[in-house]
Amino acid sequence: MILLELFLTFFKIGLFTFGGGYAMLPLIQAEVASNGWLSQEELVNFIAVSESTPGPFAINIATYIGTETGGILGAACATLGVVMPSFIIILLVAKIYDKFRKNKGVQGCMSGLKPAVVGMIGAAILSMVGTVLFPKGIMATDALQNPSLPISIILASAMTVLAFKKVHPIIIICISAAVGILCGYFLPFLTIA
């Protein structure tokens, strides 16, 4: 019953994601890992795809995982799942939105959820840093097992500078791809791909 599983998993992800952008990342990471739907490396790859295509990350990742695991029907179920909670809740809230927003309880919960999302995204990113910098595992003590470490660190740092200078994500991804291809052909001994 992969279709039902996709729908329910993404329903849960939609229901418990507060705030835009990558607020979804920790939950997706946990679900994807426990179901074995994508490897961590594939997830990082897909973030790049999502940044270079239109539309929200939530819909993109739901459609992608759905397609990979259950074809076009899987994509439909996953996407419907991630959309449903917001849709229903907004319909309920739209009528009383002023009261809802100024409600002390809602404000209190949000004051806890906002910093929680920051901490959890931090944790998700930390594990992704591990995957990207140490593709053969951080325990591979022999430097030769992680020969790509210097290139990855230099590239990630340079791109971080660009990202904070408000360079568009698509340009950052294009530069990174070009550097990856150049390294792959000219410095193959420093590349793991």
């Binding site: 849960k12 418990f16 507060f18 705030g19 835009g20 952008g21 990558y22 939950l27 490396e41 990082v44 973030i47 790049a48 795809v49 940044e51 295509t53 239109p54 539309g55 929200p56 990350f57 819909i59 459609t63 992608y64 397609t67 990979e68 991630v82 959309v83 917001s86 849709f87 907004i90 319909l91 809230v93 739209a94 002023d98 809802f100 927003r101 809602v106 004051s111 806890g112 906002k114 910093p115 929680a116 999302v117 920051v118 901490g119 931090g122 944790a123 992704m128 990207v132 660190i153 990630a156 971080t160 990202a163 991804i173 791809a177 070009a178 550097v179 990856g180 390294c183 793991i192 791909a193």
Partner: protein, 185 residues
């Protein structure tokens, strides 16, 4: 104008918004404002600000929240259904095609090399996203404690993400109630 026509218009406007915004969420807000408030006067500028506030205090992606909200304001239930379908459809079509292409091209050597570089670039985008989220979070002692605790709980203790979320929401609720009471006393 009858509701069905309005619903179709909502669909096409939100389809356009979904097809032309990269990065989703907040990147969509100026576009939504231009298309629905400025051009069509479906909603007011103040309502746009309210949508952002609502989207931030309800679960789910901002794109879906705002499409549903605007659609509902303009044409009731069917308005919200058509607007939401419209904003989702472009991503759905594009990503379904890309997923099939990736399956065929992912093993090619240049593609593997490109993704080797791209993964490092994605880290940069994630750092930036983390910084953006940090700036939006409240800046007080409790908030910093929650940030640190939720990071440790997920990164080191590997506690279930949902449990951490619920715990932090309750912590925020309780601490705000205590502060409220202190203010009154």
């Amino acid at each position: 104008m009858n509701k069905f026509k309005l619903a179709l218009q909502l669909f096409s406007v939100f389809f356009k918004i979904g097809a032309f915004t990269f990065g989703g969420g907040y990147a969509m807000i100026p576009f939504i404002q231009k298309e629905t408030a400025e051009k069509r006067k479906w909603i007011t500028e103040e309502e746009i600000l309210e949508i952002i506030a609502i989207a931030e205090s309800t679960p789910g992606p901002i794109a879906i929240n705002s499409a549903t909200f605007v659609g509902y304001r303009v044409a009731g239930f069917w308005g919200s259904a058509f607007a939401t379908f419209g904003v989702v459809l472009p991503s759905f079509l594009i990503i379904s095609i890309i997923a099939m292409l990736l399956q065929n091209f992912a093993d090619l050597e240049p593609v593997r090399f490109a993704f080797f570089g791209i993964r490092a670039g994605v880290l940069a985008l994630l750092f930036k996203a983390l910084w953006t989220m940090y700036k939006k979070a409240p800046k007080n002692l409790i908030s910093y404690i929650i940030m640190g605790a939720s990071f440790l709980a997920v990164a080191i203790l590997k506690i279930n993400v949902l449990i951490v979320l619920i715990g932090c929401a309750l912590t925020g609720l309780i601490s705000s109630l205590i502060m409220e009471r202190r203010k009154r006393a």
